[in-house]
């Protein structure tokens, strides 16, 4: 499916929509260049579940964990990683089998570490305010 957003608010609203159908154990791999709205998507997603949580970029910390009322959200950023083996050492597998939802920025740079049920979301730039967002799961929550 293709979605065009024309504001940061619309990208967040898409995140909120995905949050409303998300279930523990799911993994969303976010792909897109710098400044295409990956973190804004996560902000919309997390704040839909818990408005009080402050979503920050995990580029430096690699993973931020938000303990929301519904399930924990594991907000990863692979931006600084160079090698899939680095993920072994931060215990990435443990998050996959966990009780929460993984949202992974730059999530498709190591395809080999992603489980088969991964849902990719691709962000593309169409100018200063316009973003093209591609995904292939069902937003109504009745299955993908």
């Amino acid at each position: 499916m293709l979605l065009i957003t024309t504001s940061v608010g619309a990208t967040r609203a898409f995140g909120a929509k995905v949050a409303s159908i998300a279930r523990p154990g799911e993994l969303y791999a976010l792909e897109g260049e710098l400044g295409t709205g990956k973190t804004e998507f996560v902000r919309g997603f997390v704040n839909e579940i818990d408005a009080a949580v402050v979503v920050r970029s995990p580029s430096f910390s690699i993973v931020n964990i938000y303990d929301t009322a519904r399930f924990p959200v594991y907000h990863f950023d692979f931006y600084r990683l160079h090698d899939a083996s680095e993920l072994d050492e931060i215990g990435f597998d443990e998050y996959l089998t966990g009780d929460g939802v993984c949202l992974i920025e730059w999530g498709t740079i190591f395809p080999s570490v992603l489980p088969p049920h991964t849902r990719p979301i691709i962000f593309r730039d169409r100018g200063p305010h316009e973003r093209e967002i591609r995904f292939n799961f069902d937003l109504t929550g009745t299955g993908s």
Binding site: T39, R56, S57, S59, F60, S61, L81, H82, I90, G91
Partner: protein
């Protein structure tokens, strides 16, 4: 009194030895120092720490001629940071503690950064403000004592150092990009008013938050669509304007925090505190009451951890390192 400091909370592995508050040796193994040696990339992996920590410690003892058994206190960063990375430092420290029966204390990484100003300003009066600016942090703290510091405000998206690194990537600089952007900005000789103008996130209703994500995106759009030679020609002005936008935001919040708290003493710490324009701007805003560590003590290092440990020893506040390291920075 000899204190052994150990820091491994993120990218840097560092070991230091202090004699009271004098640094005898402060070794840091980081990607920055080793870039010139070909292909050593930043590694977040705990194995990277594990491979270096022994050699660093050995070199500290060899260079100072101090025998390991002569250490009087061990201070190790135990939070916050990446769990695996922290555990390397903590395990090493606990092993050393057990083998030589030397007292040990855990240190909060932030407490260490705050202590970094005390090497050159040993008796800064409390309370003071601390502006912590690095790749992972952009926060303002009120420091009432070394046992009590409270966050007044922090970034709501990207850290300032992260903004430097990401804008650096857009402009073609290596990681970490802070030093390159500063050097490029210094090549701009014109008036700042001739530079491109970038938005600076302003606080609303007296709130002390920072935001740098929009600034990053603004630089991206300034660059996009321009041909590479045009970008290269404008790069000094771009770097100057970007850097100034970050500094304006940091200084504006520092000024606001000072007014709200009635405190004019302020410490600038963390990796971005190396930036000479930022240091100057803060000193201009707080003449005589802005405190900055030596540039060699801004990025993560074990000397500041050792000093925080020594100060804990003096206050009789040693505490066992916490092993269940928090999972985020």
């Amino acid at each position: 009194m000899i204190t052994l400091g150990i820091e491994s909370s993120c990218d840097e592995t560092s070991i230091a030895l202090l004699d009271n508050e004098t640094i005898l040796v402060n070794t840091i193994y980081s990607q920055t120092e080793h870039r010139d040696f070909g292909g050593v990339v930043p590694e977040v992996a705990s194995r990277a720490h594990l491979e270096k920590i022994d050699r660093l410690a050995q070199s500290c003892f060899t260079r100072t001629g101090i025998a390991p058994g002569k250490v009087d206190l061990i201070a190790v960063t135990d939070s916050p940071g990446l769990a695996g990375a922290l555990l390397v430092g903590i395990s090493f420290a606990l092993g050393f503690h057990t083998a030589w029966n030397i007292p040990i204390t855990g240190i909060n990484h932030l407490e260490g950064h705050i202590c970094s100003i005390l090497f050159e300003n040993t008796d800064v009066a409390f309370p003071f403000l601390a502006l912590v600016v690095s790749g992972g942090h952009t926060s303002l703290y009120r420091v009432d004592s070394l046992d009590e510091f409270n966050c007044l405000g922090e970034t709501v998206d990207d850290a300032a150092g992260e903004a430097f690194d990401k804008v650096g990537k857009l402009l073609g600089f290596p990681y970490p990009a802070g030093r390159f952007i500063e050097e490029e900005a210094a090549r701009f000789s014109g008036d700042i008013s001739q530079c491109p103008s970038f938005p600076v996130a302003r606080c609303s209703q007296g709130k002390l938050y920072f935001s740098f994500s929009g600034l990053k995106t603004a630089v991206k759009y300034f660059v996009s669509g321009k041909n590479p030679s045009e970008v290269a020609r404008q790069r000094p002005a771009l770097c100057r304007a970007f850097q100034q936008a970050v500094i304006d935001s940091l200084v504006a919040n520092a000024r606001l925090a000072a007014r709200q708290n009635g405190i004019d003493r302020i410490a600038l710490v963390g990796g971005v505190a190396c930036n000479s324009y930022l240091r100057e701007a803060l000193h201009r805003q707080f003449p005589d009451t802005a405190f900055t560590p030596h540039t060699s003590l801004c990025t993560d290092n074990a000397a500041m951890i050792a000093l925080a440990g020594f100060r804990r020893y003096q206050r009789d506040k040693l505490r066992r390192p916490i092993m269940n390291a928090s999972r985020t920075l």
